[in-house]
């Protein structure tokens, strides 16, 4: 028995099984995970690790464990999508911890948060004075949402009656020196238009460009490979090499 070879093959099985299962389970970002999702991820990862290196048992029972946990995770997701009450039971509910500027001590106790945790989460959001907060809610993923008191909210163009245009989302036209014609067509532009735009910026060839984006308002962003910056700011503390 060539143990190295067996571990290599099992690693490939575990790696791609995990990749496929996690893609099926969902697209949630780490920041959106509930505590249960987090534990689920750790458990599935741990089973995959055993599948890879625990040669004392065959790969199959580990793989069955892996697919069972992944299937149950998927099932829970479907249940929480279809049944709102189940979602509240399984994932928990948002808890109001500051209401009208007053700290809700009982709600804090129920959510098992200390006030120092809340103050820390507030600081993470740039709020250093509890006086500024009208409402604070602990979301089911453990993050704090804050509604500031009206007098502490930032002024918007609407408050000032300033007319503004929607900028929309920028689309990549050239990515790493390669023209993306599909995006160009979506914005009703053609290659000649882009070449003219590049020429206007002193660029003769597409391959000179690292990134070009265009937003629906017509604002174009161009970045060349040759940045012509002579003095580069280094924010590192040590000289390196790293």
């Amino acid at each position: 028995m060539n143990e190295g070879l067996v571990v290599l093959v099992r690693s490939i099985i575990a790696f791609f099984s995990l990749l496929i299962f996690t893609r099926i389970i969902g697209k949630e970002q780490i920041s959106q995970l509930t505590f249960f999702d987090y534990v689920l991820g750790i458990t599935i990862g741990s089973i995959a690790a055993s599948l890879t290196t625990d040669l004392s048992s065959s790969a199959w029972p580990h793989w069955v464990g892996l697919i069972t946990w992944a299937a149950l995770g998927y099932l829970m997701e479907i249940v929480t999508l279809k049944w709102r009450y189940a979602a509240k039971v399984l994932e928990g509910e948002p808890v109001i911890v500051i209401m009208n500027g007053k700290i809700m001590e009982n709600a804090l106790k129920k959510a098992k948060y200390r006030i120092s945790d809340i103050l820390e989460l507030m600081r993470n959001q740039g709020v250093f004075d509890p006086n500024e907060v009208d409402f604070a809610i602990i979301e089911s993923n453990g993050q704090l949402s804050i509604l500031k008191k009206a007098e502490h909210l930032p002024v918007t163009p609407k408050d000032m009656n300033i007319p503004v245009k929607n900028s929309g989302i920028s689309t990549e036209l050239i990515y790493d020196g390669i023209l993306i014609e599909e995006n160009l067509r979506q914005l009703n532009k053609d290659k000649n238009w882009l070449i003219n735009e590049l020429k206007a910026h002193g660029i003769n060839d597409i391959s000179e460009v690292f990134l070009v984006t265009l937003n629906p308002e017509g604002s174009i962003y161009i970045d060349k490979y040759d940045d012509r910056i002579t003095k580069i700011t280094d924010i590192g503390d040590y000289k390196g090499p790293f």
Partner: protein, 121 residues
């Protein structure tokens, strides 16, 4: 086409993985020449009972070689403990044959058969 590939590639990958993990029970069976482990064990038991120790020595070597062939085939789906146990049983069998100890040799062969039947199950 892309949509088909997005579904077909992961599906084919999973099927391949299942084949690798579950093929052991099939691959441990005799597939060619000189890899019939249960057949060799039965023959060895017969020869030991008849106390034909010279033939027994040859057949034990054949069993060793057959086991090596089978291990290389089933290693990706088998558990290491069963493989190790079979190896130990083979070593003990060699000792019993060396001492022409009929009782111990048959005990080891029966145990070896049990390890073989538990392999990849």
């Amino acid at each position: 086409m892309r949509r088909f590939l997005v579904i077909a590639i992961p599906l084919a990958t999973i099927i391949l993985f299942l084949a690798v993990m579950l093929s052991g029970n099939y691959l441990k069976q005799p597939l060619g020449n000189n890899d019939d482990i249960p057949g060799l064990i039965d023959a060895l038991i017969r020869d030991i009972q008849n106390e034909q120790w010279e033939i027994v020595g040859q057949k034990a070597d054949e069993l060793n070689k057959a086991w090596e062939k089978v291990v290389s085939r089933v290693q990706f789906s088998a558990e290491r403990n069963e493989i190790n146990n079979f190896n130990i049983t083979l070593a003990r069998l060699q000792g019993a044959i060396l001492e022409k100890d009929r009782l111990s040799a048959i005990i080891e062969l029966k145990e070896a058969y049990e390890h073989w039947s538990q392999l990849c199950r």
